[in-house]
Amino acid sequence: MTVQPKIAIRDFSFYYGSHQAIQSINLDIYANEIFSLFGPANSGTTTLLRALNRLSDLVPKARTEGQILIDGQNIHDEDVIVTELRRRVGMVFEEPVPLPMSIFDNIAYGPRMRGVRNKAVLAERVEESLKLAVLWDEVKDRLHTSALRLSGGQQQRLCIARILSLGPEIMLLDRPCAALDPISTAKIEDSLVLLKEKVTIVLIPHNTQQAIRVADRAGFMLMGEMVEQGPAERLFTVPEDNRTSDYITGRFG
């Protein structure tokens, strides 16, 4: 019996106008795993990530071919409500982007847009999300102070908590620790390992060491093509494709 993938990408191509950024990719990502998409700059990893929550819709002249199926449903279907999709599939960006409001308001932002008004419910969600993001203990006494005063690592965990308050099924992280020190990075990596019990995680690491540390499965992309994919341990030790081993050993970057 084969397990249905959480995310199924079938013959997917992405075009910015006439430039083809992603070349007919096929990929399966399973529920409750950490999947790492990696590759050199401009390989299409960010583009693919952003296609998963259709943030790519915001780019003018964006065009897609093929399918992305989440739980079997094509996310480009006519009756898919994009705003709903984005609540199910949350995203953390490369730099921590706290909104200019209090910690509480940051985390309550998503639920409030959804229509949640009940103060008790909001408070509960905020606490829960902060605990899952391993930030609660550090900020529980100053929930109503400005989020801009947090350190870089704390801000990024805030961004993680912000998504979690919507109860997503999938989390997309684009080089989340690129701007952070090693200690903050470790904290976030630990929280991701804990979080995968609840969500499916697709991560673009800022270096291959991070992927080696946290990923269950991984996929190597080069110039828009999915070169190789499979269990992380195998991919990073005995990759099948030369290009993969060249990249991992640093022959090119």
Binding site: E84, R87, V97, S146
Partner: protein
């Protein structure tokens, strides 16, 4: 006569510092002139009593009320249109023919002399729309005058927000309007308010456009349809007709103090917003 570079540097430096000093001196000269001659007239009574005998005696209360009302009307009308226009330019469209036309219109409006606004306001609001000389006519005319400023400063403020704020809001499932109301506007609020406050100062100081549209009645205005005389207009009339130099100075001092409060208040507000969010 060739001077060596060191000499020209010293000379130039002196002249340049002198020029800056001149600007400061002129400012102080004008401010102190008005304040020194006018503050003695400023008393609680002066500010809360209505003018009597065509302004020969009494205070300036009705003019203060008129100034506030005209300013209020004009800001209340111009701000939604100005901010809305800025939002259109930044959120709903890319640079193209439409944006060029809008910007050209705004820039041109900014260049039109206030007396021409007065002529327009008179023929359009006062006569054609039959609003008569009134706070409404004056306010609407002034709204057109301050519209370009609000558009420009709002657009600048909106463009200055963190480029990822919008993305964050969208990625949390926000619609365009939710993003504008929840992320864009709150972040740009400080800059937008600066523009609004600048415009308040402009309304308070304006004379030519107001005298032709709001009239010069000294009575306390009863509604936005009443004619009204603002402080600046009152000052002008007192001086032109030689009615009462003492009260003219008093009015001017009150005007200057109001403008100083607006300027200082604006700067303080900006700094407090900065402090709160950082």
């Amino acid at each position: 006569m060739r001077l060596n570079p060191k000499t020209t540097q010293a000379l130039a430096k002196a002249v340049i510092w002198g020029s800056a000093l001149l600007v400061i001196v002129l400012l102080l000269f004008i401010l102190l002139f008005v304040l020194i001659k006018g503050v003695p007239t400023l008393s609680w009574q002066f500010l809360t009593e209505n003018p009597r005998d065509m302004g020969r005696s009494g205070g300036i209360f009705s003019t203060i009320v008129s100034t506030i009302l005209v300013t209020l009307v004009s800001v209340a009308i111009a701000t939604p249109f100005g901010v809305g226009t800025a939002l259109y330019l930044t959120e709903f469209t890319r640079e193209g023919l439409a944006t060029r036309i809008i910007r050209f219109s705004a820039d041109t409006l900014a260049a039109i002399p206030s007396i021409v606004y007065g002529l327009f306001g008179f023929i359009f609001f006062v006569i054609n729309l039959n609003m008569g000389w009134s706070i409404l006519s004056g306010g609407l005319t002034m709204a057109m005058m301050i519209l370009p400023t609000i558009i420009r400063t709002s657009e600048e403020a909106i463009l200055a927000i963190h480029p990822l704020y919008r993305e964050v809001s969208f990625s949390l499932g926000g619609t365009k309007m939710q993003t504008i109301l929840g992320a864009v506007l709150p972040s740009a609020l400080r800059g937008i308010m600066t523009g609004v406050i600048l415009s308040i100062g402009r309304c308070v100081a304006e004379t030519a456009a107001v005298i032709l549209t709001a009239g010069s009645s000294l009575r306390l205005p009863e509604s936005v349809f009443s004619p009204a005389r603002t402080m600046a207009v009152h000052f002008y009339i007192l001086v032109r007709e030689g009615i009462s130099m003492e009260r003219a100075y008093g009015t001017a001092a009150a005007l200057i103090i109001l403008i100083l409060i607006i300027n200082v208040g604006a700067n303080m507000l900006i700094n407090r917003f900065v402090a709160k969010n950082h």
